[in-house]
């Protein structure tokens, strides 16, 4: 469980997050949705501590993460997995070494055990026969999937994904969504996903939080999102012509 309480974050005097409070429960896919530039990435990075918040509190279960010093944060971070918007693979390491990296760092397993785990993770994201390739040799979507494999290598307790399926074809996107859902349910992870893709919201979102210009405008469940009266959210959810027509004909 992760709790965000009254968080403010500004850059050069301009507030990007305004009084955001939200609770992310374990074993659920929590989706943060919002337009491009609304502050989703900033919120996610503030939650994991890559950005220092101006005011407010961030709790990981019973620990006040935002007040911990770096060494104490490191302990909690070893239980985190994060997928960055750009992948952030280590570009001097091969695919296999990338996924093995957290295992090397934090476990004492033998090479064989580690390799088994690496191949298992890579299989789950449908990457085959690419173990010895470098990130530069992969397609954008493949990079993303390898990054997911790296994020789940240590069975994280908290999983953060910044737009996990942007840049993927719809089919692979759904595979990734389902994978994240599976992991969340199987390991009772607290999963927080940034997205502006309504498909994945409807596919896997247990809880949906809508961010608009740095304010949390709305939160609710997957079904509620379709029947909301909030005009901003409505515009966002029914942005495409297809969605509008479906809405007109009744959901």
């Amino acid at each position: 469980m992760i709790e965000v309480k009254n968080v403010f974050k500004s850059f050069n005097g301009e507030f990007v997050l305004n009084d955001v409070s939200v609770l992310f429960e374990a074993g659920k896919c929590n989706m943060i949705i919002g337009r491009s530039g609304s502050g989703k990435t900033v919120l996610l990075k503030s939650i994991v501590g890559l950005l220092e918040i101006d005011r407010g509190e961030i709790w990981y279960d019973d620990r006040l993460f935002s007040k911990l010093i770096l060494n104490e944060r490191q302990e909690i971070r070893q239980k985190m997995g994060m997928l960055f918007q750009g992948g952030a693979l280590f570009d001097s390491l091969t695919v296999e070494q990338n996924v093995m990296f957290p295992l090397n760092m934090f476990t004492n397993q033998s090479y064989r055990e580690k390799l088994k785990r690496v191949n298992f993770c890579l299989e789950r994201v449908r990457i085959e026969r690419a173990n010895s390739m470098l990130p530069a040799e992969l397609s954008g979507g493949m990079r993303k999937r390898v990054a997911i494999a790296r994020a789940i290598a240590l069975n994280p307790k908290y999983l953060f994904c910044d737009e996990p399926n942007s840049g993927l074809d719809p089919e692979t996107g759904i595979v990734i969504d389902k994978l994240i859902k599976e992991i969340t349910v199987d390991f009772k992870t607290t999963t927080v996903i940034n997205s502006h893709d309504m498909n994945s919201v409807l596919e896997i979102g247990d809880k949906v939080v809508y961010i608009h210009n740095g304010y949390k405008c709305w939160e609710g469940t997957q079904e509620e999102v379709l029947h909301t009266n909030n005009p901003d959210l409505n515009d966002f959810v029914f942005a495409t012509t297809l969605a509008q027509q479906i809405k007109k004909q009744g959901i």
């Binding site: 890559l50 971070r77 070893q78 960055f84 693979l89 280590f90 570009d91 957290p102 760092m105 934090f106």
Partner: protein, 248 residues
């Protein structure tokens, strides 16, 4: 300006503190250090050798040209070449060259990792990124730059010999006598001590600029320029201070 300086100093020392705080698993650091010895040290071998040979040869010719006086013994050329190499060239000049080669590569490597969020990815895993990325480089260069310094001395003296031998500057036997004449072994330890300090300066300053890049490719380029300029200036400053302390 002054404020800028103080902020940078503060951030620099905070970074140093993080580098030496709680490093991770020994086996991983060991492996990284070996890789860095190859990247930073062994790959600089060629440039150090080439420059030292030529500089040794040129100093020999110039010195001979300057003291063309029948009353001065020829072996003085050897003495001068040896002292220039040992006292200044093989430590300070080589360090300036390494600042250009190694410093810019460290700053751009780490800077690129910063802008592509690879450093963030390390942090999220719970890895002490400053320590993981920089400590192996510090250890590798503090160990290996003095080796490069020694090599530069030997090769430089050999360059001088070559120019005597091939260019008939002075009789090679005079040169050999000269480089042994009134030799203080302390000169070598003096040069090696300086080099250890220089190695630390080059790596930490360059890593500092790389680690604190914000932005994109242009800022990475700018940081690597700054890394070279600022580490060179600091090397010269350290040279002054260390010389004052060590050569009383």
């Amino acid at each position: 300006m002054i404020e800028y300086l103080f902020i940078n100093f503060g951030k620099y020392f905070l970074m140093l503190k993080r580098i030496f705080a709680r490093p991770g698993k020994f086996s991983i650091y060991y492996r990284q250090t070996i890789t860095e010895v190859e990247n930073l040290g062994i790959n600089s071998f060629g440039i150090v050798v080439i420059i030292s040979v030529f500089v040794g040869a040129v100093i020999t010719i110039q010195t001979n040209y300057n003291i063309e006086n029948p009353f001065l013994p020829k072996y003085l050329v050897g003495v001068t070449v040896r002292d220039s190499l040992l006292l200044e060239f093989s430590s300070t000049m080589v360090a300036l060259i390494l600042a250009g080669k190694v410093g810019s590569s460290i700053a751009s490597e780490i800077g690129m990792m910063r802008v592509t969020e690879q450093i963030d990815a390390l942090e999220i895993m719970g890895v002490n990124s400053a320590s993981y990325l920089i400590l192996p480089k510090i250890i590798a260069s503090v160990i290996f730059f003095p080796v490069l310094c020694l090599i530069s001395m030997i090769v430089g003296l050999f360059g001088g010999y070559l120019s005597c031998f091939l260019g008939k500057i002075i009789p090679p036997s005079d040169y050999i006598y000269g480089i042994q004449y009134a030799f203080y072994p302390h000169y070598i330890s003096y040069a090696l001590t300086k080099t250890v300090f220089y190695a630390f300066i080059i790596v930490t300053i360059s890593a500092y600029y790389g680690y604190h890049v914000e932005g994109g490719a242009i800022e990475v380029g700018r940081s690597s320029t700054k890394a070279v300029v600022h580490s060179s200036v600091l090397i010269l400053l350290a040279n002054l201070i260390l010389t004052r302390i060590l050569l009383q």
